[in-house]
């Protein structure tokens, strides 16, 4: 299982969204890496890509709102990381629509997404929880 309890920030809305992201990415990877023919995987790949385009934006927006509400000093830097990821997902999605042979593109996307998501939630997002905890606002005891 991709999700680990130590990733929890102690902010219920954000934690629920993170769990959903991990669940979707995990199921995307299972399809992507299965031995099935690429043609058979396409419907679920398309569905995940559409979900990512929509949900990532929604989740990042909610997370940024939370950061603003606690005056998180790393807001600007964190937002830039979010914006860069949204741009990457949109670029990949565009290339995917335009390309006829796109399995390699999706494998490349899957590998980067996996490492990016784990680092972002296990490292970058934990800094928000550490700050909130220090200020006595929220966050889990870690």
């Amino acid at each position: 299982m991709l999700w680990k309890d130590e990733y929890e920030l102690g902010v219920p809305v954000i934690d629920a969204q993170h769990k959903e992201l991990f669940r979707r990415v995990e199921s995307f990877l299972q399809v992507l890496r299965s031995k099935d023919r690429w043609e058979d995987k396409i419907p679920q790949i398309n569905e995940t890509l559409e979900f990512m385009k929509r949900y990532v934006v929604e989740h990042f927006r909610d997370e940024e709102e939370y950061q603003k509400s606690i005056n998180y000093p790393g807001y600007k830097y964190h937002k830039q990381i979010h914006d860069d990821m949204v741009q990457y997902v949109q670029e990949v999605s565009k290339q995917y629509e335009q390309s006829s042979d796109n399995e390699d593109l999706m494998q490349q996307f899957g590998g980067r997404l996996l490492a990016w998501l784990i680092n972002h939630v296990a490292a970058e997002d934990q800094l928000i929880a550490d700050y909130a905890k220090k200020k006595g606002m929220s966050g889990n005891d870690r």
Binding site: L2, R33, Q107, Q108, G110, L114, I118, N119, A123
Partner: protein, 149 residues
């Protein structure tokens, strides 16, 4: 400068392995001891006050172990997915290094690229390398940088 760069890269690798892979047992030693026939070599270009590149040499077994831990799946060969995940890790380590050094210098990193061995050695003013040992294998870092004129 060389000592500080070396230490910052080792520390950043340590942190990334701890947070992303839950591996804390890490030590560094001279790169001369690094022996691996097959590696996934990822180059990260650096521009700004310093200009050059860092080459991360991940042995195949280390690469597969890293991706297996992250994904909870079983990868048996290096393919586009594995190379992409490993490239992102090299990108993350390099980004963390430049953030840690940002009070001393302003630099940016370029997107990771697969490095082809056999290319002509470039001449760098600052050149250092390190081998990092972990419980899932070794990694070699080759750092080559020039000060911007």
């Amino acid at each position: 400068m060389i000592d500080k760069l070396y230490k910052t890269f080792v520390d950043a690798t340590h942190n990334v392995f701890k947070l992303m892979l839950n591996i804390s047992d890490i030590s560094d030693h001279p790169a001369d001891d690094f022996k691996s026939d097959e590696t996934v070599d990822i180059a990260i270009g650096i521009v700004g006050d310093l200009k050059g590149e860092v080459i991360y040499r991940f042995p195949v077994s280390t690469s597969l172990n890293m991706v297996n831990i992250m994904s909870g799946m079983q990868f048996e060969e290096v393919d586009v997915f594995v190379t992409s995940a490993i490239s992102e890790i090299a990108n993350i380590i390099s980004g963390n290094v430049l953030t840690a050094l940002s009070e001393d210098m302003k630099c940016d990193i370029l997107p990771p690229e697969q490095y082809k061995r056999g290319e002509e050695d470039k001449d760098y003013e600052i050149k250092t390398s390190s081998c990092i040992s972990t419980t899932i294998g070794e990694i070699c870092l080759e750092i080559g940088l020039n000060r911007a004129s």
